[in-house]
């Protein structure tokens, strides 16, 4: 077994680390942290994203014929890890998940129009799946789209449309068949909705982690039929393919590696002749944190390698998704413990450690228990596909 990157991959990693640290200017950091809840959307954020596009950094894993760099999943993984590590809220789903799905399922016009824009960092796409009555059970969604001539007319509402307040498009799951002949998930379609369409609106949902997600509303929104992704009533295949791609980006350890490195540095700082790491309990915490994060890093690297080899199973991917969540939840807590009572300080307070990042991460992490597939369903998938247990009956 060889768990290290090759020399070229290591070089790419170092290059990206340098590039991203230059990209993250103090002004950009200030904009991100103070104005936009670290989610992006401001003018400096948009400019940085376009710069990454112009420098050829978006779509490393896309095929050359689509304008990408044709790199493999391991390089793609390195890209995500290093960009996450920099703290820049890169819209991964747009370039790593929806972009490739548009390339696979989109109409020729849409591909021609959108793929270069995604590669150029000019476009951010938000996902609109969840509805007030349909979250984990996506097949129960009610937002409707009716075909009228060359257009779809969309009516309905979504919740938790993250990035929806500044995204250029919503990757919207809608119901296009309403008769009983179509099983619930067979009547779904996927439509790309421009957010400048008349009838589209959004309202904020402020989250416990100082973030911002949205309700989005669709009131007779008219969208050209060429914005249909895949076939009408063929949305389920598009959604599952997109969710599978999403899992590679969701549990990347880049952010955890970053805060771990900062905490490691901090516990070695000498103050009044002593270091935090000289205390036995701090040593124990740091040991447990290292063991858990090293394991997650290896698991994620193996996942990227498995994708490159074509051997990654759905059970393994689901297991890593669960592992990532559990690891973040446990290690962020152990790191905060190490920081002492200052760990409770919020971002912006004088003396706040790590610019308050760890506090925000710890409040954010519970989202990963259900985002990208809730962990109970993931566990059922692991048990059924990884071990061959009988299907769990759902009422």
């Amino acid at each position: 077994m060889q768990t290290a990157f090759t020399a070229e991959q290591e070089e790419l990693r170092q290059y990206l680390r340098r590039y991203m640290s230059e990209l993250m200017t103090p002004e950009l950091k200030h904009e991100l942290v103070n104005t936009y809840g670290n989610e992006g959307g401001g003018p400096l954020y948009r400019a940085a994203l376009r710069r990454m596009g112009a420098d050829g950094l978006i779509g490393l894993g896309w095929p050359v014929e689509l304008g990408g760099k044709g790199h493999g999943p391991i390089e793609q993984y390195i890209f995500i890890e290093e960009v996450t590590r920099s703290g820049f809220p890169f819209p991964y789903l747009t370039s790593e998940s929806m972009g490739p799905a548009i390339a696979e399922f989109g109409s020729p016009e849409l591909r021609k129009e959108l793929l270069p824009k995604i590669l150029g960092g000019e476009v951010v796409i938000a996902i609109g799946y969840t509805e007030p009555g349909a979250g984990t059970d996506l097949a129960a969604l009610k937002t409707r789209a009716e075909r009228q001539g060359d257009e779809y007319v969309i009516n309905g509402a979504k919740v938790f449309t993250s990035l929806g307040h500044f995204a250029d498009y919503i990757w919207l799951a809608v119901r296009t068949a309403h008769d009983d002949k179509h099983a619930r998930h067979k009547g779904l379609s996927l439509i790309l909705v421009p957010t400048n369409s008349p009838g589209f609106s959004h309202a904020p949902i402020y989250t416990v982690a100082d973030g911002h997600t949205n309700q989005t509303f669709y009131d007779n929104v008219r969208v050209p039929a060429r914005n249909l992704i895949g076939e009408e009533n063929g949305g389920w295949a598009v959604i599952t393919s997109q969710l599978n791609r999403e899992r590679l980006t969701l549990m990347n350890p880049g952010t955890a590696n970053l805060v771990y490195s900062q905490v490691l540095e901090r516990v070695h700082e000498v103050r009044d002749g002593t270091r935090l790491i000289d205390q036995p309990w701090v040593q124990m915490n740091m040991a447990r944190i290292y063991a858990a994060l090293k394991t997650l890093n290896l698991a994620c690297r193996k996942q990227a390698w498995g994708i490159a080899q074509g051997t990654l199973t759905a059970a393994e991917a689901s297991a890593i998704k669960i592992l990532g969540y559990e690891t973040f939840l446990a290690t962020f807590r152990q790191m905060l413990e190490v920081l002492g009572p200052d760990a409770t300080l919020r971002r912006g307070s004088p003396g706040v450690p790590l610019e308050g990042m760890l506090d925000v991460l710890y409040r954010t992490t519970p989202v990963y228990g259900f985002a990208g597939g809730t962990n109970e369903v993931m566990r059922d998938m692991v048990a059924q596909m990884g071990l061959g247990l009988p299907r769990v009956k759902r009422a």
Binding site: T3, Q283, A287, T295, R301, T311, I322, P390
Partner: protein, 356 residues
């Protein structure tokens, strides 16, 4: 980057597993366990003849010339089969002789019928002291010490630990039989001015210790893999309230956690083994693997015995030997808390080893 097995590694696994499975039937194991010396000498002879005990020894000394990674793959098979054979202690002891350049001794013990027992413990239950090339004192719980050909043990000269080779069957060497929780033979050695050859100083002792720990992680990996397999069979066959036990979501959720635990231990254990194959010292990742080996062994066995109900405790069913093997591996060398404390000390003194 390569997380898979090479062809040669797959062949070694298959060869070792099939031999170990053939010999590790309840019919063969039960009488050995009743005899008090859980070592299958016929199996041991077969393993030696097939070269399974010397996978990591250079070919010029009679081995297969492979690395520590392959040794640990063999140990995984020993864990999967709860084999009655001193594979860990003997394989790592031979590697240590090779590492120390004690080639005459290496050739002797490669050729001998018996096995070597090795311990790396340097705590208060090892009082061995060296004086004029002879050892005196007591060391407890050395695995497979009864009837071993010789012992690799740490002893102090003044305050410094070194590693010694002590041949059995000489005057001044007394071995009292002890029984491990997994029913493996262990021994309390009482030495009185026993002849000993110094193999190396604290660096070699640490070299041995890291390999004993990594090897025990490999055995634990095999143990929990097999436990997962046995329990999967059970919940897929056994019915409760007229449905298969595995169709309850409470059961499937628990089995998924078992799957994740087994996956992570295998990954960290193989990573530690491959690190030790290419470098003398991989202390941080060896200790990280051992933290997992203890925790995972504990959790997987608790879940799997529980899912079996009373059957998981019944000595006529196949699970119990794995339950005790997991406890042995969890506690025998560097339990999770000890490994975490040791890793914490490494982090305090050499943070460059734990960069992420």
């Amino acid at each position: 980057m390569d997380f898979g097995l090479q062809d040669i590694e797959r062949e070694i696994c298959e060869l070792a597993e099939s031999m170990l499975r053939d010999f590790s039937t309840p019919e063969r194991l039960s009488p050995l366990e009743e005899s008090g010396l859980r070592v299958d000498r016929e199996l041991w002879k077969a393993l030696k003849e097939a070269g399974v005990t010397t996978v990591g020894i250079d070919s010029e000394h009679g081995g297969a010339g492979l690395g520590f990674g392959e040794v640990c793959l063999v140990l995984e098979q020993a864990g999967k089969t709860v084999a009655a054979a001193p594979l860990l202690t003997h394989s790592v002891a031979l590697l240590t002789l090779q590492r120390a350049g004690a080639l005459e001794e290496l050739r002797r013990y490669v050729a001998a019928d018996g096995w070597l027992a090795a311990s790396a413990r340097v705590d208060h239950d090892n009082s061995l002291q060296e004086a004029n090339g002879r050892l005196t004192g007591v060391i407890s719980a050395t695995p497979y010490a009864p009837q071993a050909e010789a012992f690799l043990v740490p002893a102090r000269t003044g305050g410094d630990w070194s590693l010694y080779l002590v041949p059995a069957g000489q005057q001044g060497v007394q071995v009292e039989g002890q029984l491990g929780t997994d029913q493996s033979p262990m021994g309390r050695l009482t030495l009185k001015s026993a002849e000993a050859a110094k193999l190396g100083d604290a660096t070699l002792l640490e070299w041995l210790r890291q390999r004993l720990i990594a090897g025990s992680c490999a055995i634990q990996t095999g143990v929990v893999e097999e436990v997962m397999r046995i329990t999967t069979d059970w919940v897929c066959e056994h019915e409760v309230f007229g449905v298969k036990e595995g169709a309850f979501q409470a059961v499937s959720q628990r089995m998924a956690d078992v799957y994740i635990d087994v996956m992570t231990l295998q990954l960290m254990s193989r990573h530690a083994a491959s690190a030790l194959a290419s470098q003398d010292d991989a202390i941080a990742d060896v200790l990280a693997a051992k933290i997992l080996a203890g925790d995972v062994g504990h959790r997987v066995l608790a879940a799997c015995q529980h899912l079996h109900g009373g059957v998981g405790h019944d000595r006529s069913y196949r699970l119990w030997r794995y339950a005790v093997a997991a406890k042995q591996n969890e506690l025998a060398i560097a339990c999770s808390s000890e490994a975490a404390a040791a890793l914490g000390a490494v982090i305090a003194s050499r943070p460059e080893l734990v960069a992420l």
